[in-house]
Protein backbone atom coordinates (compact mmCIF):
# COMPACT_ATOMS: atom_id res chain seq x y z
CA UNK A 1 0.00 0.00 0.00
CA UNK A 2 1.32 3.47 -0.84
CA UNK A 3 0.48 4.79 2.64
CA UNK A 4 0.60 3.42 6.18
CA UNK A 5 -1.53 4.43 9.15
CA UNK A 6 1.12 6.76 10.57
CA UNK A 7 1.26 8.69 7.33
CA UNK A 8 -2.52 9.02 7.26
CA UNK A 9 -2.49 10.31 10.83
CA UNK A 10 0.13 12.81 9.76
CA UNK A 11 -1.90 14.03 6.78
CA UNK A 12 -4.99 14.31 9.00
CA UNK A 13 -3.00 16.52 11.35
CA UNK A 14 -1.87 18.73 8.46
CA UNK A 15 -5.48 19.01 7.31
CA UNK A 16 -6.72 19.71 10.86
CA UNK A 17 -9.19 16.85 10.72
CA UNK A 18 -9.62 14.53 13.67
CA UNK A 19 -10.01 10.90 12.60
CA UNK A 20 -11.26 8.40 15.17
CA UNK A 21 -8.55 5.80 15.88
CA UNK A 22 -10.92 2.97 14.91
CA UNK A 23 -11.44 4.57 11.46
CA UNK A 24 -7.76 5.01 10.58
CA UNK A 25 -7.41 1.58 8.99
CA UNK A 26 -10.26 2.08 6.53
CA UNK A 27 -9.08 5.59 5.64
CA UNK A 28 -5.61 4.15 5.01
CA UNK A 29 -7.03 1.43 2.78
CA UNK A 30 -9.33 3.78 0.81
CA UNK A 31 -6.75 6.53 0.32
CA UNK A 32 -4.16 3.96 -0.73
CA UNK A 33 -6.61 2.57 -3.29
CA UNK A 34 -7.24 6.06 -4.64
CA UNK A 35 -3.49 6.75 -4.89
CA UNK A 36 -3.02 3.39 -6.66
CA UNK A 37 -5.63 4.39 -9.23
CA UNK A 38 -4.03 7.81 -9.63
CA UNK A 39 -0.67 6.12 -10.35
CA UNK A 40 -1.78 5.65 -13.97
CA UNK A 41 -0.72 9.27 -14.44
CA UNK A 42 2.90 8.12 -14.33
CA UNK A 43 2.38 6.48 -17.72
CA UNK A 44 1.41 9.75 -19.39
CA UNK A 45 4.22 11.18 -21.46
CA UNK A 46 4.17 14.80 -20.45
CA UNK A 47 7.61 16.01 -21.48
CA UNK A 48 7.33 19.60 -22.75
CA UNK A 49 3.64 19.74 -21.79
CA UNK A 50 2.70 22.87 -19.83
CA UNK A 51 0.44 22.29 -16.82
CA UNK A 52 -3.15 23.49 -17.31
CA UNK A 53 -4.80 25.05 -14.27
CA UNK A 54 -7.66 27.03 -15.80
CA UNK A 55 -9.45 25.18 -18.61
CA UNK A 56 -9.95 28.37 -20.62
CA UNK A 57 -6.48 29.66 -19.70
CA UNK A 58 -8.04 32.89 -18.54
CA UNK A 59 -5.84 35.45 -16.88
CA UNK A 60 -6.93 36.45 -13.40
CA UNK A 61 -9.04 39.55 -13.81
CA UNK A 62 -8.24 42.36 -11.41
CA UNK A 63 -10.63 44.99 -10.10
CA UNK A 64 -10.06 48.54 -9.03
CA UNK A 65 -8.78 48.80 -5.45
CA UNK A 66 -11.85 50.48 -4.03
CA UNK A 67 -14.21 49.51 -1.24
CA UNK A 68 -17.32 47.88 -2.68
CA UNK A 69 -18.72 46.15 0.41
CA UNK A 70 -20.65 47.85 3.14
CA UNK A 71 -20.03 46.92 6.77
CA UNK A 72 -22.29 43.96 7.56
CA UNK A 73 -20.50 42.69 10.63
CA UNK A 74 -23.58 42.06 12.73
CA UNK A 75 -25.40 40.28 9.94
CA UNK A 76 -22.40 38.11 9.09
CA UNK A 77 -21.76 37.23 12.72
CA UNK A 78 -25.27 35.83 13.09
CA UNK A 79 -23.84 32.57 11.76
CA UNK A 80 -20.85 32.57 14.11
CA UNK A 81 -20.80 29.93 16.87
CA UNK A 82 -19.42 32.35 19.49
CA UNK A 83 -18.91 36.12 19.40
CA UNK A 84 -18.46 38.94 21.87
CA UNK A 85 -18.55 42.68 21.16
CA UNK A 86 -18.22 42.05 17.43
CA UNK A 87 -15.29 39.66 17.82
CA UNK A 88 -15.13 35.95 16.97
CA UNK A 89 -14.23 33.98 20.09
CA UNK A 90 -11.75 31.10 20.07
CA UNK A 91 -10.00 29.24 22.92
CA UNK A 92 -7.13 31.15 24.53
CA UNK A 93 -4.10 31.08 22.21
CA UNK A 94 -1.54 32.99 24.33
CA UNK A 95 -1.16 32.20 28.03
Amino acid sequence: MPLDENQVNNIAQLAHIEINPEDISHYTRDISNILDMVKQLEQASTTDIEPLSNPLEQIQRLRADVVTESNQRDKLQENAPLTEKGLFLVPKVIE
Binding site: L3, I17, N79
Partner: protein
Protein backbone atom coordinates in the same frame (compact mmCIF):
# COMPACT_ATOMS: atom_id res chain seq x y z
CA UNK B 1 -50.46 19.81 -13.51
CA UNK B 2 -47.16 18.28 -12.34
CA UNK B 3 -45.92 17.29 -15.81
CA UNK B 4 -46.12 20.75 -17.30
CA UNK B 5 -42.81 22.04 -18.62
CA UNK B 6 -41.43 25.51 -17.90
CA UNK B 7 -42.66 26.60 -21.33
CA UNK B 8 -46.15 25.14 -20.63
CA UNK B 9 -46.39 26.87 -17.27
CA UNK B 10 -45.19 30.21 -18.64
CA UNK B 11 -47.80 29.99 -21.39
CA UNK B 12 -50.57 28.92 -18.99
CA UNK B 13 -49.76 31.84 -16.70
CA UNK B 14 -49.72 34.25 -19.60
CA UNK B 15 -53.10 33.02 -20.84
CA UNK B 16 -54.38 33.13 -17.24
CA UNK B 17 -55.38 29.45 -17.39
CA UNK B 18 -54.12 29.15 -13.82
CA UNK B 19 -52.36 31.41 -11.36
CA UNK B 20 -48.85 31.13 -9.96
CA UNK B 21 -50.34 30.59 -6.50
CA UNK B 22 -52.38 27.65 -7.85
CA UNK B 23 -49.51 25.94 -9.63
CA UNK B 24 -47.05 26.62 -6.80
CA UNK B 25 -49.50 25.19 -4.25
CA UNK B 26 -50.04 22.11 -6.41
CA UNK B 27 -46.29 21.38 -6.40
CA UNK B 28 -46.13 21.77 -2.62
CA UNK B 29 -49.05 19.34 -2.23
CA UNK B 30 -47.26 16.80 -4.37
CA UNK B 31 -43.98 17.30 -2.48
CA UNK B 32 -45.77 16.86 0.84
CA UNK B 33 -47.52 13.72 -0.32
CA UNK B 34 -44.69 11.95 -2.15
CA UNK B 35 -41.30 13.39 -1.16
CA UNK B 36 -41.12 11.39 2.10
CA UNK B 37 -40.41 8.37 -0.15
CA UNK B 38 -37.90 10.21 -2.35
CA UNK B 39 -36.15 12.67 0.04
CA UNK B 40 -35.29 15.09 -2.75
CA UNK B 41 -35.71 18.27 -0.68
CA UNK B 42 -33.65 19.34 2.33
CA UNK B 43 -35.66 22.53 2.84
CA UNK B 44 -39.07 23.50 1.47
CA UNK B 45 -39.63 27.27 1.31
CA UNK B 46 -43.42 27.35 1.05
CA UNK B 47 -44.08 30.62 2.89
CA UNK B 48 -41.78 32.77 0.82
CA UNK B 49 -42.76 30.93 -2.37
CA UNK B 50 -46.39 31.91 -1.92
CA UNK B 51 -45.44 35.55 -1.32
CA UNK B 52 -43.42 35.48 -4.54
CA UNK B 53 -46.22 33.69 -6.42
CA UNK B 54 -48.77 36.30 -5.32
CA UNK B 55 -46.46 39.05 -6.53
CA UNK B 56 -46.09 37.30 -9.90
CA UNK B 57 -49.88 36.98 -10.19
CA UNK B 58 -50.22 40.69 -9.53
CA UNK B 59 -47.61 41.44 -12.21
CA UNK B 60 -49.41 39.13 -14.64
CA UNK B 61 -52.64 41.01 -13.92
CA UNK B 62 -50.97 44.36 -14.72
CA UNK B 63 -49.10 42.88 -17.69
CA UNK B 64 -45.77 43.87 -16.11
CA UNK B 65 -44.51 40.30 -15.64
CA UNK B 66 -41.33 38.94 -17.20
CA UNK B 67 -41.83 35.76 -19.30
CA UNK B 68 -41.00 33.26 -16.53
CA UNK B 69 -42.58 35.23 -13.64
CA UNK B 70 -44.50 32.91 -11.35
CA UNK B 71 -42.94 29.70 -12.71
CA UNK B 72 -41.71 27.42 -9.90
CA UNK B 73 -38.15 26.05 -9.66
CA UNK B 74 -36.08 24.07 -7.16
CA UNK B 75 -32.49 24.99 -6.29
CA UNK B 76 -29.66 22.66 -5.38
CA UNK B 77 -28.70 23.30 -1.77
CA UNK B 78 -25.22 24.37 -2.90
CA UNK B 79 -26.48 27.84 -3.90
CA UNK B 80 -26.52 30.43 -1.12
CA UNK B 81 -30.05 31.73 -0.53
CA UNK B 82 -30.42 34.74 1.72
CA UNK B 83 -32.08 33.95 5.03
CA UNK B 84 -32.70 30.33 3.98
CA UNK B 85 -30.80 27.32 5.30
CA UNK B 86 -27.97 26.49 2.86
CA UNK B 87 -26.38 23.19 3.88
CA UNK B 88 -24.48 21.81 0.87
CA UNK B 89 -25.67 18.43 2.16
CA UNK B 90 -23.35 18.69 5.17
CA UNK B 91 -23.64 18.59 8.93
CA UNK B 92 -20.99 21.32 8.79
CA UNK B 93 -23.60 23.79 7.48
CA UNK B 94 -26.69 22.34 9.15
CA UNK B 95 -27.20 25.63 11.02
CA UNK B 96 -26.09 27.99 8.24
CA UNK B 97 -28.51 30.71 7.11
CA UNK B 98 -26.85 32.38 4.16
CA UNK B 99 -26.48 36.16 4.57
CA UNK B 100 -26.62 36.67 0.78
CA UNK B 101 -27.90 35.23 -2.50
CA UNK B 102 -25.74 33.46 -5.07
CA UNK B 103 -25.73 35.22 -8.46
CA UNK B 104 -27.68 32.28 -9.93
CA UNK B 105 -30.35 32.81 -7.26
CA UNK B 106 -30.39 36.58 -7.85
CA UNK B 107 -30.90 36.01 -11.57
CA UNK B 108 -33.69 33.47 -11.01
CA UNK B 109 -35.37 35.83 -8.52
CA UNK B 110 -35.07 38.74 -10.95
CA UNK B 111 -36.70 36.61 -13.66
CA UNK B 112 -39.63 36.06 -11.29
CA UNK B 113 -39.05 32.33 -10.81
CA UNK B 114 -40.59 31.01 -7.59
CA UNK B 115 -38.20 28.97 -5.41
CA UNK B 116 -39.95 25.85 -4.06
CA UNK B 117 -37.02 24.82 -1.87
CA UNK B 118 -33.48 23.51 -1.68
CA UNK B 119 -32.68 20.06 -3.01
CA UNK B 120 -30.69 17.24 -1.49
CA UNK B 121 -27.18 16.51 -2.76
CA UNK B 122 -24.01 14.61 -2.01
CA UNK B 123 -22.13 16.36 0.77
CA UNK B 124 -20.26 19.34 -0.74
CA UNK B 125 -21.12 17.82 -4.16
CA UNK B 126 -18.68 14.96 -3.57
CA UNK B 127 -20.32 11.77 -4.73
CA UNK B 128 -22.11 10.11 -7.62
CA UNK B 129 -25.05 8.53 -5.78
CA UNK B 130 -26.39 11.15 -3.38
CA UNK B 131 -25.58 8.74 -0.56
CA UNK B 132 -22.97 10.99 1.06
CA UNK B 133 -25.62 13.57 2.06
CA UNK B 134 -25.95 14.28 5.79
CA UNK B 135 -29.71 14.38 5.14
CA UNK B 136 -29.92 10.80 3.94
CA UNK B 137 -29.97 9.30 0.48
CA UNK B 138 -32.36 10.34 -2.29
CA UNK B 139 -34.39 7.55 -3.90
CA UNK B 140 -34.69 7.29 -7.67
CA UNK B 141 -38.30 8.02 -8.70
CA UNK B 142 -38.06 5.21 -11.29
CA UNK B 143 -37.13 2.64 -8.66
CA UNK B 144 -37.00 3.57 -4.99
CA UNK B 145 -34.28 0.98 -4.30
CA UNK B 146 -31.93 2.73 -6.69
CA UNK B 147 -29.83 5.86 -6.36
CA UNK B 148 -30.73 8.99 -8.36
CA UNK B 149 -27.06 9.62 -9.19
CA UNK B 150 -25.13 12.56 -7.85
CA UNK B 151 -24.16 14.95 -6.78
CA UNK B 152 -27.26 16.87 -8.00
CA UNK B 153 -29.40 13.82 -7.13
CA UNK B 154 -32.12 15.76 -5.30
CA UNK B 155 -32.58 18.16 -8.21
CA UNK B 156 -32.77 15.29 -10.73
CA UNK B 157 -35.20 13.27 -8.59
CA UNK B 158 -37.40 16.33 -7.90
CA UNK B 159 -37.80 17.02 -11.62
CA UNK B 160 -38.32 13.34 -12.48
CA UNK B 161 -40.92 12.94 -9.70
CA UNK B 162 -42.84 16.04 -10.78
CA UNK B 163 -42.05 17.98 -7.59
CA UNK B 164 -40.67 20.87 -9.63
CA UNK B 165 -40.84 21.62 -13.35
CA UNK B 166 -37.09 22.31 -13.37
CA UNK B 167 -34.14 22.67 -11.04
CA UNK B 168 -30.67 24.11 -10.86
CA UNK B 169 -27.66 21.84 -10.47
CA UNK B 170 -23.89 22.00 -10.45
CA UNK B 171 -21.40 19.80 -12.26
CA UNK B 172 -17.77 19.31 -11.18
CA UNK B 173 -17.20 15.87 -12.74
CA UNK B 174 -20.63 14.86 -14.01
CA UNK B 175 -22.91 16.00 -11.19
CA UNK B 176 -25.61 17.40 -13.51
CA UNK B 177 -25.33 14.92 -16.37
CA UNK B 178 -25.07 11.58 -14.52
CA UNK B 179 -28.12 12.17 -12.25
CA UNK B 180 -30.02 13.55 -15.27
CA UNK B 181 -29.24 10.27 -17.07
CA UNK B 182 -30.17 8.12 -14.03
CA UNK B 183 -33.50 9.94 -13.54
CA UNK B 184 -34.50 10.31 -17.20
CA UNK B 185 -34.30 14.09 -17.49
CA UNK B 186 -32.29 16.64 -19.47
CA UNK B 187 -29.21 18.25 -17.91
CA UNK B 188 -26.76 20.79 -19.33
CA UNK B 189 -23.29 21.48 -18.02
CA UNK B 190 -22.28 24.74 -19.70
CA UNK B 191 -18.78 25.90 -20.63
CA UNK B 192 -16.60 26.72 -17.61
CA UNK B 193 -17.23 30.35 -16.65
CA UNK B 194 -20.53 30.70 -18.57
CA UNK B 195 -22.59 30.85 -15.35
CA UNK B 196 -21.35 32.71 -12.30
CA UNK B 197 -19.92 30.69 -9.40
CA UNK B 198 -20.50 33.54 -6.92
CA UNK B 199 -22.38 32.15 -3.94
CA UNK B 200 -22.14 28.59 -5.19
CA UNK B 201 -20.33 26.76 -2.41
CA UNK B 202 -16.96 25.82 -3.90
CA UNK B 203 -15.75 22.24 -4.28
CA UNK B 204 -13.12 22.42 -7.06
CA UNK B 205 -13.03 25.93 -8.41
CA UNK B 206 -11.42 25.19 -11.78
CA UNK B 207 -14.04 22.51 -12.54
CA UNK B 208 -17.30 23.69 -10.90
CA UNK B 209 -20.07 24.92 -13.20
CA UNK B 210 -23.80 25.44 -12.62
CA UNK B 211 -26.46 24.47 -15.11
CA UNK B 212 -30.14 23.68 -15.70
CA UNK B 213 -31.86 20.33 -15.03
CA UNK B 214 -35.15 20.14 -16.90
CA UNK B 215 -37.75 17.97 -18.60
CA UNK B 216 -36.47 18.83 -22.07
CA UNK B 217 -33.89 20.81 -24.03
CA UNK B 218 -36.24 23.71 -24.72
CA UNK B 219 -36.69 24.31 -20.98
CA UNK B 220 -32.91 24.08 -20.50
CA UNK B 221 -32.56 26.84 -23.10
CA UNK B 222 -35.12 28.99 -21.27
CA UNK B 223 -33.19 28.56 -18.01
CA UNK B 224 -29.86 29.25 -19.70
CA UNK B 225 -31.29 32.59 -20.77
CA UNK B 226 -31.84 33.33 -17.08
CA UNK B 227 -28.69 31.82 -15.56
CA UNK B 228 -25.87 32.62 -18.02
CA UNK B 229 -23.85 35.79 -18.15
CA UNK B 230 -20.79 37.68 -17.02
CA UNK B 231 -20.51 38.41 -13.31
CA UNK B 232 -17.84 40.79 -12.02
CA UNK B 233 -18.10 39.04 -8.63
CA UNK B 234 -16.68 35.80 -10.09
CA UNK B 235 -13.09 36.32 -11.26
CA UNK B 236 -13.32 33.32 -13.61
CA UNK B 237 -16.66 34.36 -15.12
CA UNK B 238 -16.50 34.67 -18.90
CA UNK B 239 -17.16 38.11 -20.37
CA UNK B 240 -18.07 36.63 -23.75
CA UNK B 241 -21.58 37.89 -24.58
CA UNK B 242 -24.44 35.42 -24.05
CA UNK B 243 -26.96 34.63 -26.76
CA UNK B 244 -30.63 33.70 -26.88
CA UNK B 245 -30.28 29.98 -26.17
CA UNK B 246 -33.70 29.25 -27.67
CA UNK B 247 -32.84 30.90 -31.01
CA UNK B 248 -31.26 27.85 -32.65
CA UNK B 249 -33.57 25.14 -31.26
CA UNK B 250 -35.27 24.49 -34.59
CA UNK B 251 -32.22 24.67 -36.84
CA UNK B 252 -31.74 21.58 -39.03
CA UNK B 253 -28.95 19.16 -38.13
CA UNK B 254 -28.30 18.39 -41.78
CA UNK B 255 -24.58 18.21 -42.46
CA UNK B 256 -23.56 18.14 -38.79
CA UNK B 257 -20.79 15.72 -37.90
CA UNK B 258 -21.03 13.70 -34.69
CA UNK B 259 -17.84 12.06 -33.44
CA UNK B 260 -18.02 8.73 -31.65
CA UNK B 261 -14.90 8.19 -29.55
CA UNK B 262 -13.83 4.56 -29.58
CA UNK B 263 -12.86 5.05 -25.93
CA UNK B 264 -16.52 5.74 -24.96
CA UNK B 265 -17.75 2.43 -26.36
CA UNK B 266 -15.19 0.09 -24.83
CA UNK B 267 -14.93 -2.26 -21.87
CA UNK B 268 -17.03 -1.55 -18.80
CA UNK B 269 -20.03 -0.26 -20.77
CA UNK B 270 -23.33 -2.08 -20.14
CA UNK B 271 -24.28 -3.63 -23.54
CA UNK B 272 -27.92 -2.56 -23.11
CA UNK B 273 -26.77 1.06 -22.72
CA UNK B 274 -24.55 0.78 -25.76
CA UNK B 275 -27.55 -0.47 -27.74
CA UNK B 276 -29.77 2.44 -26.60
CA UNK B 277 -27.08 4.96 -27.44
CA UNK B 278 -26.42 3.43 -30.88
CA UNK B 279 -30.18 3.45 -31.58
CA UNK B 280 -30.34 7.10 -30.56
CA UNK B 281 -27.49 7.90 -32.93
CA UNK B 282 -29.46 6.46 -35.86
CA UNK B 283 -32.07 9.15 -35.11
CA UNK B 284 -29.37 11.73 -35.69
CA UNK B 285 -28.44 10.05 -38.98
CA UNK B 286 -32.09 10.29 -40.05
CA UNK B 287 -31.97 14.00 -39.16
CA UNK B 288 -29.12 14.43 -41.61
CA UNK B 289 -26.09 14.21 -39.33
CA UNK B 290 -23.08 12.04 -40.15
CA UNK B 291 -21.45 9.77 -37.59
CA UNK B 292 -17.66 9.72 -37.57
CA UNK B 293 -15.38 7.45 -35.54
CA UNK B 294 -12.84 9.46 -33.58
CA UNK B 295 -10.11 8.88 -31.03
CA UNK B 296 -9.55 10.55 -27.66
CA UNK B 297 -6.19 8.89 -26.99
CA UNK B 298 -5.79 10.26 -23.45
CA UNK B 299 -9.30 9.40 -22.24
CA UNK B 300 -7.90 6.98 -19.65
CA UNK B 301 -6.04 9.80 -17.92
CA UNK B 302 -9.21 11.71 -17.06
CA UNK B 303 -10.25 9.80 -13.94
CA UNK B 304 -6.77 9.75 -12.34
CA UNK B 305 -6.12 13.41 -13.23
CA UNK B 306 -9.48 14.39 -11.80
CA UNK B 307 -8.90 12.53 -8.54
CA UNK B 308 -5.74 14.55 -8.00
CA UNK B 309 -6.98 17.97 -9.13
CA UNK B 310 -10.46 17.89 -7.57
CA UNK B 311 -9.27 16.74 -4.10
CA UNK B 312 -6.39 19.24 -4.22
CA UNK B 313 -8.77 22.13 -4.91
CA UNK B 314 -11.28 20.77 -2.38
CA UNK B 315 -8.69 20.57 0.38
CA UNK B 316 -7.90 24.22 -0.22
CA UNK B 317 -11.52 25.40 -0.58
CA UNK B 318 -12.80 23.52 2.45
CA UNK B 319 -10.11 24.93 4.73
CA UNK B 320 -12.53 27.83 5.30
CA UNK B 321 -14.64 25.57 7.52
CA UNK B 322 -12.79 26.10 10.77
CA UNK B 323 -15.53 26.26 13.42
CA UNK B 324 -14.80 29.94 14.06
CA UNK B 325 -16.82 32.19 11.75
CA UNK B 326 -19.69 29.95 10.67
CA UNK B 327 -20.58 26.28 10.49
CA UNK B 328 -20.28 23.45 12.98
CA UNK B 329 -18.18 23.95 16.11
CA UNK B 330 -17.27 21.15 18.51
CA UNK B 331 -18.20 21.30 22.22
CA UNK B 332 -15.62 22.42 24.79
CA UNK B 333 -12.47 22.70 22.66
CA UNK B 334 -9.29 22.27 24.73
CA UNK B 335 -7.34 24.70 22.52
CA UNK B 336 -7.41 26.22 19.03
CA UNK B 337 -5.93 23.15 17.31
CA UNK B 338 -8.52 20.96 19.02
CA UNK B 339 -11.27 23.38 17.96
CA UNK B 340 -10.23 23.11 14.31
CA UNK B 341 -9.66 19.39 14.12
CA UNK B 342 -12.69 18.27 16.11
CA UNK B 343 -15.06 20.75 14.43
CA UNK B 344 -13.88 19.49 11.03
CA UNK B 345 -13.75 15.84 12.12
CA UNK B 346 -17.36 16.03 13.37
CA UNK B 347 -18.75 18.36 10.69
CA UNK B 348 -17.50 16.55 7.58
CA UNK B 349 -18.63 13.10 6.46
CA UNK B 350 -16.36 10.24 5.33
CA UNK B 351 -16.14 11.02 1.62
CA UNK B 352 -15.38 14.70 2.20
CA UNK B 353 -12.69 13.83 4.73
CA UNK B 354 -11.21 11.27 2.36
CA UNK B 355 -10.97 13.86 -0.42
CA UNK B 356 -9.49 16.54 1.84
CA UNK B 357 -6.86 14.04 2.99
CA UNK B 358 -6.01 12.98 -0.58
CA UNK B 359 -5.82 16.65 -1.58
CA UNK B 360 -3.61 17.53 1.36
CA UNK B 361 -1.30 14.64 0.48
CA UNK B 362 -0.94 15.43 -3.24
CA UNK B 363 -0.20 19.07 -2.49
CA UNK B 364 2.33 18.36 0.24
CA UNK B 365 6.02 19.06 -0.20
CA UNK B 366 7.78 16.26 -2.05
CA UNK B 367 4.63 14.95 -3.75
CA UNK B 368 3.41 18.09 -5.53
CA UNK B 369 5.34 17.51 -8.78
CA UNK B 370 4.61 13.81 -9.04
CA UNK B 371 0.90 14.16 -8.44
CA UNK B 372 -0.48 17.67 -8.85
CA UNK B 373 1.77 19.00 -11.59
CA UNK B 374 1.61 15.72 -13.50
CA UNK B 375 -2.20 15.79 -13.27
CA UNK B 376 -2.30 19.32 -14.63
CA UNK B 377 -0.11 18.25 -17.54
CA UNK B 378 -2.41 15.31 -18.18
CA UNK B 379 -5.26 17.81 -18.08
CA UNK B 380 -3.72 19.65 -21.02
CA UNK B 381 -3.31 16.40 -22.96
CA UNK B 382 -7.01 15.71 -22.41
CA UNK B 383 -8.01 19.21 -23.51
CA UNK B 384 -5.81 18.88 -26.62
CA UNK B 385 -7.59 15.62 -27.55
CA UNK B 386 -10.90 17.49 -27.58
CA UNK B 387 -9.50 20.46 -29.49
CA UNK B 388 -8.23 18.03 -32.13
CA UNK B 389 -11.57 16.23 -32.25
CA UNK B 390 -13.49 19.47 -32.75
CA UNK B 391 -11.38 20.18 -35.82
CA UNK B 392 -13.24 17.28 -37.45
CA UNK B 393 -16.68 17.17 -35.80
CA UNK B 394 -19.42 19.45 -34.42
CA UNK B 395 -20.39 17.23 -31.49
CA UNK B 396 -18.99 14.24 -29.64
CA UNK B 397 -21.54 11.66 -28.53
CA UNK B 398 -21.60 8.65 -26.24
CA UNK B 399 -23.28 7.29 -23.13
CA UNK B 400 -23.52 9.63 -20.12
CA UNK B 401 -22.73 6.82 -17.67
CA UNK B 402 -21.48 3.24 -18.04
CA UNK B 403 -24.49 1.80 -16.16
CA UNK B 404 -28.07 2.69 -15.31
CA UNK B 405 -28.93 3.76 -11.75
CA UNK B 406 -27.42 1.24 -9.34
CA UNK B 407 -28.85 -0.04 -6.04
CA UNK B 408 -28.57 2.00 -2.88
CA UNK B 409 -25.70 0.91 -0.58
CA UNK B 410 -24.01 -0.85 -3.47
CA UNK B 411 -20.79 1.00 -4.14
CA UNK B 412 -20.38 3.52 -1.37
CA UNK B 413 -18.01 1.17 0.46
CA UNK B 414 -15.55 1.26 -2.42
CA UNK B 415 -14.67 4.85 -3.40
CA UNK B 416 -12.67 3.87 -6.47
CA UNK B 417 -15.59 1.83 -7.88
CA UNK B 418 -17.84 4.83 -7.26
CA UNK B 419 -15.40 7.13 -9.08
CA UNK B 420 -15.60 5.01 -12.24
CA UNK B 421 -19.25 6.05 -12.70
CA UNK B 422 -17.96 9.32 -14.03
CA UNK B 423 -15.56 8.00 -16.68
CA UNK B 424 -17.51 9.59 -19.55
CA UNK B 425 -18.29 12.90 -17.87
CA UNK B 426 -15.11 13.89 -16.03
CA UNK B 427 -12.95 14.83 -19.02
CA UNK B 428 -15.49 17.48 -20.02
CA UNK B 429 -14.91 19.34 -16.73
CA UNK B 430 -11.13 19.01 -17.02
CA UNK B 431 -11.33 20.54 -20.51
CA UNK B 432 -13.99 23.09 -19.44
CA UNK B 433 -16.33 22.13 -22.30
CA UNK B 434 -20.15 22.19 -22.37
CA UNK B 435 -22.10 18.91 -22.50
CA UNK B 436 -25.72 17.85 -22.51
CA UNK B 437 -27.33 14.65 -21.23
CA UNK B 438 -30.71 13.70 -22.69
CA UNK B 439 -32.83 10.60 -22.10
CA UNK B 440 -32.40 8.17 -25.01
CA UNK B 441 -33.77 4.82 -23.93
CA UNK B 442 -34.59 2.32 -21.22
CA UNK B 443 -32.47 -0.56 -19.93
CA UNK B 444 -33.68 -2.86 -17.10
CA UNK B 445 -36.67 -0.50 -16.69
CA UNK B 446 -34.31 2.41 -15.91
CA UNK B 447 -33.49 5.50 -17.96
CA UNK B 448 -30.43 5.71 -20.21
CA UNK B 449 -28.71 9.01 -20.99
CA UNK B 450 -27.02 10.14 -24.19
CA UNK B 451 -24.22 12.63 -23.71
CA UNK B 452 -23.47 15.23 -26.37
CA UNK B 453 -20.28 17.25 -25.91
CA UNK B 454 -19.77 20.50 -27.79
CA UNK B 455 -16.97 22.95 -28.41
CA UNK B 456 -16.47 25.94 -26.08
CA UNK B 457 -19.56 28.16 -25.75
CA UNK B 458 -21.63 25.99 -28.10
CA UNK B 459 -24.51 25.62 -25.60
CA UNK B 460 -27.09 26.83 -28.14
CA UNK B 461 -25.90 24.19 -30.64
CA UNK B 462 -26.04 21.43 -28.02
CA UNK B 463 -29.56 22.47 -27.04
CA UNK B 464 -30.47 22.50 -30.74
CA UNK B 465 -29.21 18.91 -31.06
CA UNK B 466 -31.10 17.91 -27.91
CA UNK B 467 -34.30 19.59 -29.03
CA UNK B 468 -34.21 18.06 -32.50
CA UNK B 469 -33.83 14.60 -30.93
CA UNK B 470 -36.75 15.29 -28.61
CA UNK B 471 -38.91 16.54 -31.50
CA UNK B 472 -38.38 13.18 -33.20
CA UNK B 473 -38.49 10.77 -30.25
CA UNK B 474 -40.55 10.56 -27.06
CA UNK B 475 -38.07 9.12 -24.55
CA UNK B 476 -38.12 12.32 -22.51
CA UNK B 477 -41.90 12.25 -22.04
CA UNK B 478 -42.20 8.46 -21.88
CA UNK B 479 -39.62 8.26 -19.10
CA UNK B 480 -41.31 10.98 -17.06
CA UNK B 481 -44.62 9.16 -17.47
CA UNK B 482 -43.16 5.92 -16.08
CA UNK B 483 -41.60 7.75 -13.11
CA UNK B 484 -43.30 7.80 -9.70
CA UNK B 485 -47.16 7.81 -9.97
Amino acid sequence: MHRKTLADIALGLEKKEFSSVEITTSFFERIKQLDPDINSFITVTDEQALIKAKLADKQRANNTASPLAGVPIAHKDIFCTEGVKTTCGSKMLDNFLSPYNATVIEKCEAAGLVMLGKTNMDEFAMGSSNETSFYGPVHNPHNLNCVPGGSSGGSAAAVAAGFAPAATGTDTGGSIRQPAAFCGITGLKPTYGRISRWGMIAFASSLDQAGPMTQNAEDAALLMNVMAGFDPKDSTSSDKPTEDYTAKLNVSLKGKKIGLPRQFFSQGLDPAIEQSVRDALTVYEKLGATLVDIELPNADLATPAYYVIAPAECSSNLSRFDGVRFGHRCENPANLADLYSRSRGEGFGDEVKRRILVGTYVLSAGFYDAYYLQAQKARRLIKNDYLNAFEQVDFIAGPTAPSTAFSLNNEIEDPVAMYLNDIYTIAVNLAGLPALSIPCGIASKLPVGLQLIGNYFSEADLLNAGHQFQQNTDWHTQLLAQSVR
